[in-house]
């Protein structure tokens, strides 16, 4: 179950925003895409799931398990989404539907992919909520997103993405919108879930400190191009490109826990 992105290009109108990005995520690997905003890392993530916005076109090759998934019809991609590849977005405030209960949203992908009925899905939602360490899971599944705190909402989003036990999780800056203490907890949770299930992870961030805690391998992007690809320890100790050196300076200025939490 490996992901291979080769020579990926994304054009919006006449503008090429991602230009020849290649990287590989072997089974069980934790790879970080890192770069400043506008470097094309989020679009790369969306392209993997075929969720690019209107007007954006992708070229090159994305292979999942040896199968070319770039340019697959939406119907076939829909079968992969949530089932084999899950995604967590940056902003937990808007990533949940405000008028559906948390439990129904967690169980959504299970109902689609595993064909569970309403009752079984509700029971599953409770189990999934417990798995991401939401407090009082039986009660919390009956609540609406606005009744939850930011950290709890991000846990719900993670439960949604992992409900079907995907083989690959894409996390698009899942901790950026949270404050530092909760950020650490969410990272810890993600890491333990990813390790438990043995799934692969693509973690997107602009923060090298965060990356060092969760990923083993880093892909540094600038203006849609890969400028450096190396194990995270190399990026930290011997950064080659100017971008990485800049990111390293920014990272040391923020929360810094050497050795990570693993």
């Amino acid at each position: 179950m490996s992901l291979e992105v080769q020579d990926l290009t994304i054009d919006i109108g006449e503008r090429r925003v991602v230009d020849g990005v290649s990287f590989e995520v072997p089974d069980g690997a934790r790879v970080g895409l890192i770069g400043e905003s506008g470097s094309g890392k989020s679009l790369t993530a969306l392209a993997i799931l075929g969720l690019l916005p209107d007007g954006a076109h992708a070229g090159g090759s994305i292979r999942w398990n040896g199968r070319e998934i770039l340019g697959l019809p939406d119907r076939e991609l829909a079968q992969l989404r949530g089932d084999e590849i899950g995604i967590v977005f940056q902003e937990p405030r808007t990533a949940l539907n405000p008028i559906r209960t948390v439990g129904r949203q967690i169980a959504e992908s299970v109902r689609i992919h595993e064909g569970l009925g309403r009752r079984e899905a509700a029971a599953r939602a409770v189990a999934e909520a417990a798995r991401v360490a939401l407090p009082d899971p039986e009660r919390i599944v009956a609540r609406f997103p606005h009744q939850l705190s930011g950290g709890q909402r991000q846990r719900v989003a993670i439960a949604m993405a992992l409900a079907c036990r995907p083989r690959l999780l894409i996390a698009d800056e899942p901790t950026t919108a949270l404050d530092v203490t909760i950020q650490a907890e969410i990272l810890e949770l993600l890491l333990s879930l990813v390790k438990d299930d043995g799934m692969s992870l693509v973690f997107i961030t602009h923060d090298l400190a965060v990356l060092s805690q969760i990923a083993t391998h880093g892909v540094v992007l600038e203006d849609g191009r890969v400028v450096e690809q190396a194990p995270v320890s190399h990026l930290l100790t011997a950064p080659q490109s100017a971008v990485t050196q800049g990111l390293l300076r920014d990272a040391t200025a923020t929360l810094w826990r050497p050795g990570g939490i693993a």
């Binding site: 829909a78 992969l80 808007t94 992908s109 689609i112 509700a122 009744q147």
Partner: protein
């Protein structure tokens, strides 16, 4: 969101299933919602009863008993040809319900269809639909009714189609940008990322989120249908004179307003209350179905107590 598990004494179910009818309770607790619900229920019930029973035959002319004052047996009095006004009102309620529901259904179908076409399709289709809607919105309901009745003659269907088309376009105009806005939301993207197909996404995420706007528009459309039926029948485009209708009754009685002012009151009151009831019901429905606006004491207490906390 209350534990109403009185029927099942067996093991305490840890999960509390949210009752599908909880919104009805919330609606009832709102004073506007309760008023609207009662008025609409009374009108609907009256229409139902009038289907097989009215105190008198509404079309029975009895010249000896013309302009009777309210009393027994003519509770609301009689009109200029001795017809019982209460019976006429009851029979007219059927027309009103028929027109309001018919116009509501047509407005819903046209509105949702145009809004979906104008929001979810390829760019050139949705832009053309938007322009079409902008053009159609320039035609007032009265003009549409006159055009339709010029071709097919006056009948209640003229009213239904005129209001249905007029307000369908209105609903599309208001719902389209809402749909566009919701479409940009992360949770729609998240829905697709969970594997929802576009149609599943429409039903589960998009339509429920535009429902508040839609419900208000729909209740307004139904209220306008009642008014339009009265107005168009009054003008002669709507119900034929043989059909009992509040508008026709008002038109007839209004000629004698200086002589018998009390008799004009009843159809006028019936129309006013029904329109008010529909409007308030729409308002109440919007409030009762939106969980983020929940006004139940329980919810506000919880909101007040809610402290964002660090959980581990």
């Amino acid at each position: 969101m209350t534990t109403m598990d009185a029927a099942t004494p067996a093991p305490p179910e840890p999960r509390r299933p949210r009752s599908r009818w909880a919104w009805l309770g919330r609606l009832w607790r709102l004073s506007t919602g309760r008023f609207g619900l009662i008025v609409v229920a009374v009108v609907a019930l009256t229409a139902l009863v009038a289907g097989f029973w009215t105190p008198f035959d509404p079309q029975k002319v009895q010249i000896s008993n013309r302009w009777a004052a309210p009393g027994w047996p003519n509770l609301l009095g009689t009109d200029g040809s001795g017809r019982d006004i209460l019976s006429l009102l009851m029979a007219g309620a059927r027309t009103t319900v028929f027109v309001a529901v018919g116009a509501g259904v047509i407005a819903t179908v046209i509105g949702i269809l145009l809004a979906a076409l104008g929001a979810l399709t390829a760019r050139w289709v949705r832009e053309s639909v938007a322009v079409l809607v902008d053009i159609l919105i320039a035609f007032p309901v009265l003009l549409i009714a006159m055009m339709i009745s010029a071709v097919w003659g006056g009948s209640l269907w003229v009213v239904i189609w005129a209001v249905g088309i007029g307000f369908g376009v209105n609903i599309a105009r208001v719902t389209r940008p809402e749909l566009r806005r919701v479409l940009q939301s992360d949770f729609v993207l998240a829905g697709r990322a969970s594997g929802l197909t576009p149609s599943q996404n429409l039903v589960r995420h998009l339509l429920p989120n535009v429902a508040p706007v839609f419900i208000v528009q729909l209740s307004w459309a139904m209220a306008v249908a009642v008014l339009a039926e009265a107005g168009l029948s009054y003008l002669g485009f709507g119900a034929p004179v043989t059909e009992p209708s509040w508008g026709l009754l008002l038109a007839e009685l209004q000629q004698f307003i200086t002589v018998h002012p009390l008799s004009v009151l009843w159809p006028g009151l019936a129309i006013t209350l029904t329109v008010l009831g529909l409007n308030l019901l729409g308002d109440g429905l919007r409030e009762a179905t939106d969980p983020t606006l929940s006004r139940s004491p329980f919810a506000t207490r919880r909101a007040r107590l809610h402290i964002p906390e660090v959980v581990s």
